[in-house]
Symmetry: C2
């Protein structure tokens, strides 16, 4: 019979790592006895809330392009040309050291020569000239800079030094900096194009912040072809000053932006990100693709927790907690975003599907269930109405199969029946091109009905190519997202549900523990440190756990048989006794553990025996004494652990403990602090 | 200390279900004692191999359209029009009860009036006229029928009866039947279009068999827009006669088809499918999307195995075993198929990525790792060559980042370096549109290099829209699959790897056990049946398990104290004793179990005590006696189970047993029989 400690669940805010090796060892596993304890995380380090108005970037009244060029193909040419033809209504000043006309406009040799005020300077000159130029911008009173130029941190040590100086210069003049090594910015509402994209995308309300400039350009080209509407695109570059948090805050305040998309490879200010994202998500959906999920993973220390906690896990938990929807692919990200800008959120569970073909209906239903969404159970009235209106062979279940010969009118009846149903909170309209199908008229009906029931999100999946192209365009142009395969539609609906569920979560109000005996904890740590150890002995671990208010079986360190008896009488029989020595790893093997001791005499004998056997086995071992522990009945082994993520701080682990912990990994992680729930 | 049986692993072909409740009960869990045993699966039931030549459908010399019509919009019109303009070179006969000219061609009132031979008849007339028409086809000597007409099994009981008669009629004349209720067939090589698709797709080598006609039409329309090449499409309809197995066999023999795709909702002849698919996959890749994965699941009997085995699991295991690649979406299915028809299979692990942007490279690498694929570690020569040829800021690791300003020449150098590397067995070329990018010329280099290294698959991902459209088309047209997002490219590569790995698997040579004591098994079953039970007692279960050659601790049923002592002496001390009664569920509770009995006297006393307590607790219980079992030391609990899938037959479960089995589900399933491996 093994001895187990009854670790009481004590709220999840507990940030104590109690490795259960203590127990597994006793029941026969040969692992070293280790107990780590880490201090409770202090919330006081979080930075205060600050709203940053980046108007000089989001709504500049005047822009200077430094490095403007007349030579086609050059960055300075592309930037100038794009800005000039983008319809930007503010003042544009072109700066080129050689001066002269550029694309038919006057240019200045220096920004200091510009007659009017300059709010924003876009800099695209070789990196070695950037800092003197930035000095001039400062003198000129420029508010913000977009540094396109590469050759900074991303290249070499010298580049990193240069970047440091760049930031110092920028700060000295109280300016803000986007980049360096970025691909600029686009805004379709101002409008302006300060990027390499040759065309502005369609006006829309998606905001996109990307850490990869190239990905931004590629996506931009793609969304232009797909006719997806966009509001604002920001290329972060090296994030020397402004980062994703600043731009998220700005987009949160921007009335033209309804949904914020992120492509991120790293987040340096993790806790701040969490705090800002949590706040923003309450107002606007934020969705992210995270690059670098594989390489960073699982390099933490070799403790149980470290081995189980990968860094991507911290990102996942952080995004999850903030309500940032993490998607697996860039394409998904934009498919979802369109739906967020066009449709409302579902109020409740219950999806209806209307289809003119069995196959896609089945595939959609499969995915609904797989994603944990719920099909609606149609009301009796709806079923009756459908039975009256549809041909006999139609299926009035859910999916509602209105058959391959369905004309637009039949679609309209079925779609309206579904939208009227109080059990239906989201609708998917599937269409496959068949002999009688009139896709465009069907699309028009769907658009009209979606507008008449604005509280229930409608997603359409019109499968096929040319046959449905016009219909799909009509849907997209009129506010009903349309996809060409069922999985895209259902996954989009899932994203709407994720956000809707998040908004309904109770607010984060972590419990505060005011009964922690910090003095004891500090005393034990001091002693352990003084002893030159970085591992706690079991009796120390128990004392610390108890200081945090967790019920743990008493454990006391005795240095003589009589003291052991005294402890045993105090604790109550039966007890367990174990040798305590940093040098003895496999206590059970050498006879250093005695279980089930029922009286003073047994304790006395056990003390002498354990000492004798330990001395015999390892004569040179440093022996601290023998612990006397309460022998507790068998229970469920739980593991509670904690690791400190470099970005997001303390992360708590909770799950099934014991010998299978590494094998089964049946553990759950959350960033601290948490609600009690 | 609990008593555990040491179940020896005995090959995986063992199809014995041994529920471990026997043990868990003793250690304190309150579950009823149940042991099921099922008989070993016989291989003799598998049908013999038969090759079906469906030439009358795949290569008809002459076709009659019965129900041909002059009225636009009618099925008979669409079919006639499509066949006539599809370029079909064989004889076409149009049949219409009213006769007259149809689309400028002579028609016949009956197929019997046709002057020449008719190999294939396509029937599109109301269901009530189908059978007499089929009779006429039979008289005429038609070899095969495609019945488009609906109104059969899919509608009603009467429809099902009609379908039965249809099949009888077809068989009476030795004909074969595709459908009814199907959307026809298309072949781009013959060529012919006997479907509703208005255009023939591009000629190619993908064969597609679909159980959903509408999905087939939608996909057809999509692939025409996407310019994906196709060889043959078959709509299965109700599968009254010919089913997916027959058409798979035909496509396997068809030299124009290189890859076979399936959309299936059901497989009726599961074991036959398995056998045929296993054979075909050795020659050509087969990929499938399965519809209906959610509804059918987990309705099996309430045993542990039943609860864990969903029906979709059986499909997964069957596809997995046969090497049929199961994909999650129709889009994936076709993306993968294109790669299979254009590129070779990777020989070994080791993927190289060449990119002009970090972001997509990172996302691709993430997915490579996530899917369990391996990035290549580039050879020293390759790294040196790359270092010589690329700018200093480029990354010569893997992904090879050739920087945003990469011109086609730099791509060519990096791609060739990678393809030359003996550690590289597959290549992904990523391109994002940036200021200097020349996508089309880059595409041409990639095509040339891919042709020069035909043994290594090359997949390209050219992100963007119009900027890369022409380049993407050049790649696709010249045998290099091109996708617009990294995940599509990497998932496609994963499919190539899946197939490549499958082809390297050892052949299925399940072990044959000739040391099974079937006589004992039969005797015990007969006795249990005679006793009116469908549950075995532990001692019976142990005897059966032993008869199959599995080492199990002895268990014997004693009806007197002296007999118990005799058994205990024979087995050896210590022993465990348990009451055996179908009426006593919670043995431990009533004192019906005694552990750790070390001598004859203890056994004698235990016998009397167990009897006394059992009688006292349940005076009316039918008591069979008391088992005497060997008390064995604690071990790992394993669960071995078996269920019989309605489609695919015996499926074996193996995994972690004990009290957590339902909770952790750490079990693995395989269709029997298996290799020993």
């Amino acid at each position: 019979m093994g001895q187990r400690e009854s670790i009481q669940e004590h709220g999840i805010c507990l940030t104590v790592f109690l490795e259960k090796a203590v127990n597994t060892e006793i029941i026969g596993e040969k692992s070293p006895s280790k107990v780590f304890i880490v201090t409770i995380y202090s919330l006081s380090g979080l930075e205060g809330v600050s709203y940053l108005k980046l108007d000089a970037i989001f709504r500049p009244k005047s822009v200077a392009i430094i490095g403007a060029s007349n030579t086609p193909g050059k960055v300075g040419y592309v930037l100038t040309n794009n800005l000039l033809k983008s319809g930007y209504a503010g003042s544009v000043y072109l700066i080129n050291v050689r001066g002269g006309d550029i694309l038919g406009h006057q240019s200045y040799k220096s920004i200091l020569d510009v007659p009017g005020d300059v709010e924003l300077a876009v800099i695209a000159i070789p990196s070695q000239y950037v800092i003197p130029t930035v000095e001039q911008c400062g003198e000129k009173g420029v508010e913000a800079l977009i540094v396109i130029s590469a050759g900074f941190k991303e290249t070499s040590h010298e580049g990193a030094e240069l970047e440091k100086k760049l930031v110092e210069t920028v700060k000295r003049y109280g300016m803000r900096l986007q980049g360096p090594n970025c691909l600029g910015a686009i805004n379709t509402h101002v409008p302006y194009d300060m990027s390499f994209a040759s065309t502005l995308p369609k006006k829309g309300s998606i905001g996109f912040i990307t850490q990869s400039g190239a990905l931004g350009t590629a996506i931009l080209d793609w969304i232009i072809a797909e006719e997806i509407g966009f509001g604002s695109i920001i290329s972060l570059g090296n994030k020397a000053d402004l980062d994703e948090i600043d731009f998220m805050e700005a987009m949160a305040e921007d009335p033209d932006i309804k949904v914020i998309l992120l492509y991120l490879e790293s987040i340096e200010r993790g806790r701040k990100f969490l705090e800002v994202a949590e706040r923003i998500v309450k107002k606007k959906p934020v969705m992210a693709v995270k690059g670098g999920t594989s390489s960073a993973g699982a390099k933490a220390a070799g403790s149980h927790t470290g081995a189980l906690v990968g860094s991507f896990l911290a990102y996942q938990k952080a995004f999850d907690r903030a309500g940032v929807i993490l998607t697996e692919s860039m394409e998904d990200l934009f498919n979802y975003a369109v739906a967020f800008t066009q449709q409302s959120l579902p109020d409740d569970e219950g999806i209806a599907i209307v289809t003119n073909a069995g196959g896609p209906g089945i595939l959609s239903t499969d995915l609904v269930e797989k994603l944990g969404l719920k099909m609606a159970s149609l009301s009796e009235e709806t079923v009756e109405k459908l039975e009256e209106s549809l041909p006999e062979a139609a299926s009035t279940g859910n999916p509602v199969d209105i058959l391959g010969d369905a004309l637009p009118d039949r679609y309209a009846v079925a779609v309206e029946c579904a939208l009227q149903d109080p059990n239906v909170h989201a609708l998917v309209v599937l269409l496959t091109p068949q002999a009688m199908t009139d896709a465009l008229t069907t699309a028009k009906h769907v658009v009209d009905l979606s507008k008449r029931y604005p509280d229930k999100p409608v997603i359409s999946v019109f499968m096929g190519g040319d046959w449905v192209a016009e219909a799909a365009e009509h849907l997209k142009d009129n506010g009903v997202p349309c996809y060409n395969f069922p999985e895209k539609g259902i996954k989009t609906l899932d994203a709407l549900y994720q956000y809707s569920r998040h908004l309904k979560l109770p607010e984060l109000k972590p419990p505060v523990f005011d009964d922690i005996d910090r003095e004891t904890v500090r005393r034990i740590y001091d002693a352990v440190r003084k002893d030159g150890r970085n591992v706690l002995f079991p009796h120390e671990a128990v004392a610390i756990v108890q200081a945090y208010g967790v019920n743990a079986p008493p454990s006391m360190l005795a240095s003589s048989a009589e003291e052991a008896v005294g402890f045993a009488e105090e604790i109550g029989y039966p007890v367990v006794m174990k040798i305590v020595s940093p040098d003895i790893m496999h206590k059970t093997d050498i006879g250093g553990v005695e279980l089930n001791l029922n009286n003073a005499n047994m304790v006395r004998i056990a003390f002498e025996e354990i000492m004798r056997k330990s001395r015999k086995a390892q004569p040179l071992a440093k022996i601290y004494g023998i612990t006397v522990d309460k022998m507790v009945p068998r229970g469920r082994e739980m593991i509670i652990g904690m690791s400190r993520d470099p970005q997001f701080g303390p992360m708590v682990m909770f799950g099934l403990g014991g010998i299978y912990v590494n094998f089964l990994k049946d553990v759950s992680f959350r960033l601290a602090p948490m609600n009690e729930r």
